[in-house]
Amino acid sequence: MHIQLGGIDYAILLIYFGFVLSIGWILKRYMKGSTDFFLSGRSIPAWVTGLAFISANLGAQEVIGMAADGAKYGIMTSHFYWVGAIPAMVFLAIFMMPFYYGSKARSVPEYLKLRFDEKTRGLNAISFAVMTVFSSGISMHALARLLETLLHWNYNFSIAISAIIVLVYIFLGGLTSAIYNEVLQFFMIVLGFSPLVILALKDVGGWHALVQKLSVVATDQHFAAGTWTDSWKHMGNYAQNPMGADWFSMVAGLGFVLSFGYWCTDFLVVQRAMAADSMSSARRTPLIAAVPKMLFPALVILPGMIAIALHYSSGKTFLPLGADGTPDYNMTIPVLLAKYMPTGLLGVGFTALMASFMSGMAGNVTAFNTVWTYDIYQSYIAPSKSDTHYLWMGRWATVFGILVSIGCAYLARQFNSIMDMLQLVFSFVNAPLFATFLLGMFWKRATGHGAFWGLLGGTCGAAIFQGMSMTTGQPIGLLKGGWLAHSLGTHMFTYNSEMGQTLWIAIVAWTSCFVLTLLISLATARNKTDDQLKGLVYSLTPKPETAHEPWYKRPVTLGIIILAATVVLNIIFW
C-alpha cells in the first residue's frame, strides 16, 4: 500500500519538526547543571508532566499496536487501560510517589540503592540501560520500515532523519526538551486522530451498526456474537475469546503484575513525575495522565474495531492480507489514514504518527542518559567529578545512546528473530520487578540480599516457566517456549494464545520473586536501620500533608474519582 503526501502535508510535517527543534534550542540556555539536564531542575508544572507521562508511553507500539489489537480482539483490548494502566497509575500517585519524589532519588535504580543495596541497583540499572537503547532502536526501525512501505522513503534516510532530530533536541534541552515535545505530541495525536475516528465511525454507520457488523466478525471466527463488543462477558473461560485469556489471568497477570510493574517501576515514565515542581505536582502527575488515558481506547482501539468491521463487510478487502491470508493488523492505522484523510488533514495525522515514533525513542534516550550517567558512570566509573562534568557526560551519553540505537535498528532489520528473543528476555527481567518494589516499600524487614536474589530468581522463574509452556499452533523452541518440558519429557502447560501464555509467565515470575525475596529476607540480617529507611518505607515515612489543599489537588480524592469513573466504563461496556 502507498500513501501520497501532498505539498501541504509536507509543509505541516516541516513546521512541526521546526517547532520541535526550536523548543530544544530555546531550552539550551536553561541547562546549567546536571539536575537541569536530567531532572528538569524539578521545576515543571503538573499539567505538563502529566501529559508527558502518558505521551512518553504513547509511542508507536501504542498507536499502531492498540489499533491492531482492537481489530484482533475487539473491545477486550480496553483491559490494557481500564484494568491495567489506570489502577496502577492511581497506586503510583497515592502510595509510591512519596518515596520516589520524597527520597530525592534521581532515578528508579537510585531508589533501589537507597532502599536495598548497591548490587540491586547495579542489576536494575544495567538491565534497564540495555533495554532502553534496544527499545529506542526498535522504535527507529519500525518507523523507517513504515516510511519505506507507505511513502517509499529510503530506509537509511529515515533512520538518519529521526536519529538526528531526536539527538538535537535532547542534546540541547535534555529531559525538559523531551517532556515539552511529548506534550506537543500529545495534542498532535489527540487532535490529529480525532477526525479520523469521527469519519470512520460515521462511515461504518455509528456505534450500533458497528456492534452489528462486529457480531459477524465474531461468529465468523466461531465466537459468540458479542465477543468484539463486550469487554467482560466472554472471559469466564479462555476458550471463549480471541485473546485466549480468562478473567483471572487478565486481572492477575495484566492488571496486577504487568501493569503495576510497568507504570510503577519503569523509569521511563516515573522520570516524568520526578521532574515535577513539588511533591504535590509529582503525585498529581499520574492522576492527570489517567484522565485522558481513560478515554484513549476511543482514539486507538475503536479505529481497529471499525477497520475489522469494514474488512468483513467489504468482503475482506479493506485491510491488506499477510502471507497466511489473515489481515495485516499492523497496517490498520495507515489504511485508515489513507482512506479517510484528504491531503491537508493527512499532513496533521501523518505528522502525529511520526511524532509518536520519535517520542517513543526520545523517552528511552532520556531515561538511558540519566541511568547511565548517575547509576553507572558516576557510581562505578568516575565518582566525585564536578557537576559540569556529569552534564557533559549526559550530553555525550545521548549521542552514544542514539548511536547504539541505530546499531540496534539495523540489527533488527537483518535479524528479526534476535530482536524477538531480546524482547522476550526483557519481559523476563521486567515481570518480577513490582514484587521487589512492593516488598521494599511496605515491609521494612526486606533486605538487600532478598531483593537481589529475588529479582534474579523471578527472572529465572519466568524463563523456566516459559520453557515448560507453549501456545497451540506455535513451534516448540527457545522463542515460543516449551523447550524445557520438551527435552525433559515433563508436563507441558498449553495455552490457546500467546497472550494467555505471556500472562501466566508474568504471574509465575512475580510470585517467584515475591516468595524468594520474602524467604531470603527472613533468613538474612537487615542491612539498613529504621533511621536509614526513613522516607523509603511506608511505615517509617510521615504521610504527605494534603489537608490544606483544595479537594481537586488531593491525590486520594482524585484517585477515588478516577477509579470510580473507570468502574463505570467497565460496566457500560461489560
Binding site: I23, L27, Y180, V183, D203, P342, G344, L345
Partner: protein, 72 residues
Amino acid sequence: MNFDLRLPIGIMFSLFGAILTIFGAVSNKEIYEQHSLGININLIWGIVLLVFGLFMLFLALKGGKKNGPPKP
C-alpha cells in the same frame, strides 16, 4: 523556568488551523468525495485547530501578564 509551553502550542496549532481552513476553503471538492465522505473536513477541522490554538495563546498571554514580565 520562564518559558510557557502554552505559547508554542498556541502558535503551532493556530498556524495549522489557519493553513487547513484556507486550504479547505479553496481546495477542489473532489478530494472530499474520495476521502472524507464528501465532508470538507479540512475546513471544519481547520477551524477546530484554530480555535484550540487561539485559546492556548489566550491562556499563555493571560498567564504571562499575571506573573509580570519575565525577569532577565
